[in-house]
């Protein structure tokens, strides 16, 4: 007997994407329960005694320590990094930082891009020309380079990083919303709403805006996936957050020095987590894209 019935490849995409994200979020929320280690410390407390952990232990290492005469076994699933912190703990603790930066940055762009797009598409005229010019010039920059420039300008820190990433995605929301409003404006149901005497603001916010939401949902999930990569790149380049905060990009950049020495696990596991998180959001986004806009692709 099957517990869940999933038909159609787009539903599978959404299902697998959600599953991946669920596992990541689940582990992140519970990492302090699952793991006995602190992601920012190279020592572990057992019965009031501080025990330092050896650096660069390979994955699946087991070491035994004696505390007050009793033996304890310490297990490192992904090994330890260059200062003796547990890589597994860092990797799952890091996701909370990465995901919140990516999600907050995308929501910030949404909250700027949506009203600007509505204004540009609905009111038009000089607003449309001016805003389109600004947005197109932002859009012309490669996203990562723009984020680096803004981040370098603002300096490191959580808020600055969110702003730097948010700037990149404002044009994508603006363009989508503007385009949709322009075509929705000409729809017969909008003409009918005008003929029924509805005020202009109601037509924009109650008749037009809800019709933009499905595409906004799709583009938001895809943008989050992209924002994770940019966040990692900024941290990798040292423009993100300062150590010892657990962060995937930061850990890759530190781990790359030990790669040639054979300690591949320090950098590979954070990189794997980036891929998984990006995959999860992309699958959800693409899945919903096909579900909501089935006409785009001819099957």
């Amino acid at each position: 007997m099957r517990l869940i019935k999933i038909k159609g490849h787009e539903n599978w995409m959404i299902f697998i994407g959600s599953l991946v994200l669920f596992v990541i979020v689940f582990l992140t929320l519970l990492y302090s329960i699952i793991s006995p280690y602190d992601p920012t410390k190279s020592s572990v407390n057992i019965k009031g005694e501080t025990i330092f952990i050896k650096p660069l232990l390979p994955p699946l290492s087991k070491i035994e320590v004696e505390v007050n005469g009793s033996k304890h076994e310490l297990f490192f699933l992904f090994g330890t990094d260059q200062v003796g912190r547990d890589v597994f703990t860092r990797v799952i603790a890091g996701s909370s930082f990465v995901l919140s930066v990516a999600i907050l940055a995308t929501l910030l762009s949404l909250s700027i891009g949506l009203p600007l797009g509505l204004l540009s598409g609905y009111v038009g005229r000089i607003y449309d020309r001016a805003l389109s010019l600004v947005m197109d010039s932002i859009y012309a920059f490669p996203g990562l380079i723009l984020a680096i420039a803004v981040a370098a300008l603002l300096g490191i820190g959580l808020v600055n990083m969110i702003v730097a990433i948010a700037v990149v995605y404002i044009p994508s929301y603006f363009r989508i919303v503007r385009g949709q409003v322009l075509s929705l404006k000409e729809q017969p149901f909008i003409e009918a709403a005008i003929a029924l005497g509805m005020p202009k603001t109601n037509i924009l916010f109650k008749q037009i805006m809800p019709n933009v939401f499905p595409s906004l949902f799709v583009i938001t999930t895809l943008n989050i996936a992209d924002a994770i990569i940019i966040e990692a790149a900024l941290s990798f380049l040292g423009l993100g957050i300062s150590p010892p905060t657990p962060d995937w990009g930061l850990d890759i950049s530190q781990g790359k020095r030990y790669f040639l020495a054979g300690a591949w696990w320090v950098g590979i596991f954070p990189a794997m987590m980036i891929s998984l998180a990006v995959l999860g959001f992309s699958l959800i986004g693409e899945g919903f894209d096909e579900k909501l806009n089935p006409k785009i692709r001819t099957k």
């Binding site: 729809q187 017969p188 149901f189 003409e191 009918a192 709403a193 005008i194 003929a195 029924l196 005497g197 509805m198 005020p199 109601n202 109650k206 008749q207 809800p210 019709n211 939401f213």
Partner: protein, 320 residues
């Protein structure tokens, strides 16, 4: 009894399309009395829809009203502010459109359309009262009230048009403009919608301005008919008088072009095509296609004259 509801006086509407201008409605005058329904018939591009849209000031931005007045309940609509005209739309003049499948918002339930409408016109009703009112209207339109919770995609085309009519009539307007309300529907549904409009006309005593190219539904529904050709009214008057004794050659040809079931005859099409309105022919605009065209038709534009009581025609054949 003969109280005037709407009076369109010498209305001229022009579309500016870059290089050339198109006069879609040219010096048209029209009167609708309270409780009287009129039909406006003509080929595509004859200006019927433009005429209807100008009454509610719904014309696209590239259209310009060059001259004329539209007097509704004593006020000239063309002089009203946007806010004033908004209060008339939906509340005093309702309008329904051609394509019912697209005239409801896909993200809103049927009931939300009613709530939005009532709120837009500041009708002081609580939500439960609006629901009750909407249920009553739906029932009048022949739809069960359980449909209030449905989204538009769950409804058939005929149901959507019934709901669109219900929305247009919810605030008891005195005039309903119906722009080809049945063109997108199949014949059976068309007959039901016409029957519905007929009953509503009787019960609510509203005026309907029916715009269509289908003379069949005009004969079913209205009291008076105006025939438009190339932006002008060529014949207007009492329905019986026009259908039994069409005077203008265009009307005669139009009536002959209606197919009849069971009678095997070759369908008579009107030769030629409607004139290019950016460069209309001089004189009578119908003369290039008219079988009775005379020399004067090419030069002098005929005026609308009353031949019989309440039967006007613009044709040189009837001028003395």
């Amino acid at each position: 009894m003969n109280e005037e509801l709407l009076f369109v006086k010498n209305l001229t509407v022009e579309y500016s399309l870059g290089k050339y201008n198109v006069r879609a409605v040219d010096n048209v005058s029209l009167k609708i009395n309270k409780g009287i329904s009129i039909g406006i018939a003509g080929e595509s591009g004859s200006g019927k829809t433009t005429l209807a849209l100008s009454i509610l000031k719904l014309l696209p931005h590239y259209a310009k009203i060059l001259s004329g007045e539209i007097i509704f309940e004593g006020k000239n609509i063309l002089n009203l502010t946007n806010e004033e005209i908004r209060k008339i739309r939906g509340a005093k003049i309702g309008m329904i459109f051609q394509d019912p499948s697209a005239s409801l918002n896909p993200t809103m339930k049927v009931i939300d359309h009613f709530i939005e409408l009532f709120n837009s016109h500041k009708v002081n009703l609580r939500k439960e009262e609006i629901i009750e009112e909407a249920a009553k209207i739906l029932e009048e339109m022949g739809i069960g009230k359980e449909r209030l919770k449905d989204y538009p995609h769950m409804l058939s085309g005929g149901m959507k048009q019934r709901i669109a009519i219900g929305l247009a009539l919810a605030l008891n307007p005195s005039l309903l403009i119906a722009d080809e309300p049945t063109t997108a529907l199949d014949v059976l549904i068309e007959a039901q919608i016409i029957e519905l409009l007929k009953n509503l006309k009787k019960q609510r005593n509203i005026s309907i301005m029916l715009i269509t190219h289908n003379l069949g539904i005009i004969s079913e529904l209205v009291d008076e008919v105006s025939i438009m050709y190339a932006g002008k009214i060529v014949e207007m008057g009492n329905k019986e008088s026009i259908f039994n004794d069409p005077l203008h050659p265009y009307t005669q040809l139009l009536l002959q072009a209606i197919p009849e079931i069971g009678i095997e005859k070759k369908l008579k099409a009107i030769p030629g095509s409607p004139p290019d309105l950016s460069n209309p022919p001089p004189g009578c605009r119908f003369h290039p296609r008219c079988p009775y065209a005379m020399e004067i038709c090419k030069k002098v534009e005929p005026k609308l004259i009353e031949i019989k009581p309440n039967h006007f025609v613009a044709c040189h054949l009837y001028e003395k």
